[in-house]
Symmetry: D2
Subunit: 333 residues, 4 copies
Amino acid sequence: MLKFSLLGVGRIGKMHAQNIAINPNCELEYVYDVNNPAAEKIAKEIDCKIAKSPEEAISSSNVDVVYIATATPTHIDYILQAANAGKAIFCEKPIDLDIKKVEACKKELEKYNVPVHIGFNRRFDPSHKSAKEAKDSGEIGKLEKIIITSRDPSPPGIDYLKDSGGMYRDMTIHDFDLMHYILGNDPIEKVFATGSILFDEDCKEINDMDTAMIVMRSRSGVLCHINNSRRAVYGYDQRVEIFGSKGMVISDNQTPSSLQKFTNKITKAQEPIHYFFIERYKEAYKIQLQVFIDNILNNKPTAVNFDDGRNALIVANGALESYQSGKFIKINY
Amino acid sequence: MLKFSLLGVGRIGKMHAQNIAINPNCELEYVYDVNNPAAEKIAKEIDCKIAKSPEEAISSSNVDVVYIATATPTHIDYILQAANAGKAIFCEKPIDLDIKKVEACKKELEKYNVPVHIGFNRRFDPSHKSAKEAKDSGEIGKLEKIIITSRDPSPPGIDYLKDSGGMYRDMTIHDFDLMHYILGNDPIEKVFATGSILFDEDCKEINDMDTAMIVMRSRSGVLCHINNSRRAVYGYDQRVEIFGSKGMVISDNQTPSSLQKFTNKITKAQEPIHYFFIERYKEAYKIQLQVFIDNILNNKPTAVNFDDGRNALIVANGALESYQSGKFIKINY
Amino acid sequence: MLKFSLLGVGRIGKMHAQNIAINPNCELEYVYDVNNPAAEKIAKEIDCKIAKSPEEAISSSNVDVVYIATATPTHIDYILQAANAGKAIFCEKPIDLDIKKVEACKKELEKYNVPVHIGFNRRFDPSHKSAKEAKDSGEIGKLEKIIITSRDPSPPGIDYLKDSGGMYRDMTIHDFDLMHYILGNDPIEKVFATGSILFDEDCKEINDMDTAMIVMRSRSGVLCHINNSRRAVYGYDQRVEIFGSKGMVISDNQTPSSLQKFTNKITKAQEPIHYFFIERYKEAYKIQLQVFIDNILNNKPTAVNFDDGRNALIVANGALESYQSGKFIKINY
Amino acid sequence: MLKFSLLGVGRIGKMHAQNIAINPNCELEYVYDVNNPAAEKIAKEIDCKIAKSPEEAISSSNVDVVYIATATPTHIDYILQAANAGKAIFCEKPIDLDIKKVEACKKELEKYNVPVHIGFNRRFDPSHKSAKEAKDSGEIGKLEKIIITSRDPSPPGIDYLKDSGGMYRDMTIHDFDLMHYILGNDPIEKVFATGSILFDEDCKEINDMDTAMIVMRSRSGVLCHINNSRRAVYGYDQRVEIFGSKGMVISDNQTPSSLQKFTNKITKAQEPIHYFFIERYKEAYKIQLQVFIDNILNNKPTAVNFDDGRNALIVANGALESYQSGKFIKINY
């Protein structure tokens, strides 16, 4: 039975709290949030303690795991505090927006022998995972192409965007990680990225983009495409296509129900797909937690490690450089 | 090169004329229709002769095949004339609405050694045929159930209905034949049928039904279901499901294009399915003609013979008896 | 916060125990099972008390709800004990296999004013429910047909079958209830049923059937079809098709993931559908529990009441009578 | 009634010959092919004359249309001969591999007032066309992204490849044209292209690629992606996705039949999609011919004109430059 301190109970932190609460292999000991009423609300629902400070939550001798779901700029600080306290660490993506800080953190972490898991939840989605496994098993032959479509239902607003690090480091970073996951030990060699501001005034104001397309080539020559949008009226569009010499697998979108409608205008019409990540990746988040716990309890390496977080950021930075230069940028991990 | 006389150029006859015209193995020599202007129009389009009488069309020494697409009450007369003239015969379904006349015709036909094909076009639909072949090949194991959904897009109107012989003999007869086709040499042993008048005033007026459901059991115990409607707003609904010990095959509906639409209300919405039989079974009609020609030219038995037409009518009559008596009726072929 | 006593922790009872445990609006106070080790195991997992007898579980003053998931023959006894103790009652289907006992129980229950919910879980499936709602909203116009396909993945074995009451009262009873649910206040007027023994030696031994087809007509003329099998190699086949004057809705099957495979043999191939009811109706069982709790807490009528259980049994009995007589049987509720 | 001379009766020319033969608005007067037996075979089947030289076919006073389906290097010569003879021209894609020759031809053509149609058949596919129309009608709002997947079933072999002009000018050129078609009057501003040799030894030998990915941005900021392969084991993969502010349309792949298979391994498995362009774009080729004829007979501009052919080549050249330089290349039409 692992005991958790959870830092941050915003939208995603709240979901983590509930998943921890219903998982029979762990217990939520502390919650902490700068917004104290939010922490109080969760503490009441889950019946756990409220830490007066992050330090209290992190260093309590009663706690095995520090679960970091706070704002990105705080991540590294909490990671290092937790490492110093000898706790296992689960940290939401991204580690940080600044690769230098990430490198420094990496170096610092080498002093400690603590497990670190970075929260790239999509790897744990049963459909994406089955697609990856079909590729690994040789079922589709030699890998040739990966295509990821990843569109949010609606733009997040200026408050979120201004500190987000921009499309590639905030949103596409999930897709870069998924590419790494599928590619396995065949790293991305080059990245080309472009983008447009087509609809979102907030993006325009901060000189970000709302629509993006990326092409990558792996060391072995596998071609990879990602396309992103900050808005898709039909829901949270999450598709992965893996193409090889003997076939193809597609992890398709999912609708809340399996209803189909037929009228004089349409046939086989399904509902809009799941609205957003909380709904779409509900199972993935639960499975991720279980895998994390299993690995900690069995002294096995975490499923998504610090380097995975670092590598995704490096490719995101490469994409940004490509966007600015118009060139096919070499990735140096 | 077979030479055809075509009797009847109504909706279905016109389509047959065009199929004959583009088939490289046959030629349309004569057309005949009680509605002479219709015959003239086709004759001009196809560049063929107009027979002044059915007799001329049937007995012309230049003609190999008599293709009967006239009103049902004329079928038997033309079949026997054609048989007497030694012609190969293609006759649209149903042979006749009166089983006694059909039996008499059958007996009479025994005097002649002419090939007769009854136009149950659905057997030649590539999807239905693949489903049947999957069953025959053992791919789905031992046959257990067959379910046919068969719905017209809109009711035909009182003029058609009053001489149609009623739902079972006019519309369901196609489905009875398809059941026979799929069952192969396992005949239908019992039939139960019911129906309702739910929307069509014309049906009500002539005491017919617009909606029907039928259940049958074959000699070996296979259970069969047919459901019919005279109206489906989304198009001509034609589905066949064959279920066995090792799996299932479904011959699904078909849309004119493969377009899918996604909005904030719907996803993966396709178009309405094909409007009616001319569009839906376009390929089936062409293939049927080719198979008919191949069989004639190679002295092989026709693919759908007189007994197939007779047997479908016998089951239709059983259905009607069941509808009237509320009993599970034994079929005596 | 409602306190529950759960009687019976077999396969379905165990699932109920877990759902009760994670529902924030209720608590599992007691479990009871004739198989004491099973009860102990659950009690340990959930951290609740073990009742030494059903009486203890039912009459404890600390308990608000008696949840009956024991063998069918015990249902009525426990219902009446619980009613006598003034408890709210949740009882798994069927109430009993003997309509006379059900009628007696109904009469007896009139003395008490306790809420009774019969566990027809399928009504709470989001897809089936959306289909029903589309019908109720008038979206598909006037109702004309309902078609339910309901096939188990594999036969249950002789031990289960011999006390099951036969296909119609054990398995089809779910589908009869679903028909009632969709039809609303348009009762079934007549039922025709047939069946076959096609593969299951156990069914043969006890003179039951493994494959069934049923046709019903409602008072307003709506035609209804159910087809059942005790085995479907591709999983637990659960489809509902509702057809009306303005369109159709289909509640289709569901696969564990949204993966599609493409090879040189197949395209768009999905996985087998959910294996059985625990997986397929996972959400439905949780929602059913929540709806039950909400109704109890708000003094509202239960969503599936005693009469719903009784009516489904009456139609099942009609089906059996039809199977034996080969006649279209009138239903007298 | 337009009279045609057809130059070239290879695979695609033969199909054109058949389409011309069955179209009621035109007649095949002459065929010509350097491979005389091939011409003789077609002439016999279709019952038309064999020209002894291209000149005879082109200049015959009896002929209205010159239909060019010969090897690419001959196109421009025949176009100009036909223009000089005052004939309407249908020319298969590409016009030529050398943009300088194309520009010279364009200039020369200005002297003549003859209609020229370039054979980009995909524009006439009913599904692709419906997708384009949904975009034009505003149904999906403001256009934001276009994604084209275009994969051949198997590589064409070294003989074809060595004169093909390479992936972009031979294969992707169809997709570039489709992009222009969908974009309408919003030209492509920049193109990035990459590629790999992953499986085809022939491609390797001639320094071409077998797998490609392209990203483009239009003047208005629309992002476009194309991905190509010379091999897809499941058939000729042809998908178009158009994404906008109010929704998305997808023109999906098509299978020969609508059969679905269900076993203990797979569900809803369809057949491999159409094998190649002759099958997949069968309707498109017929419609293209009809549209061409209608435009000629009604003195309307051709649906795909010389500039469409030229513009697709210009983008293909830009793609090649990008592939070689690793840069985002500006398109100068």
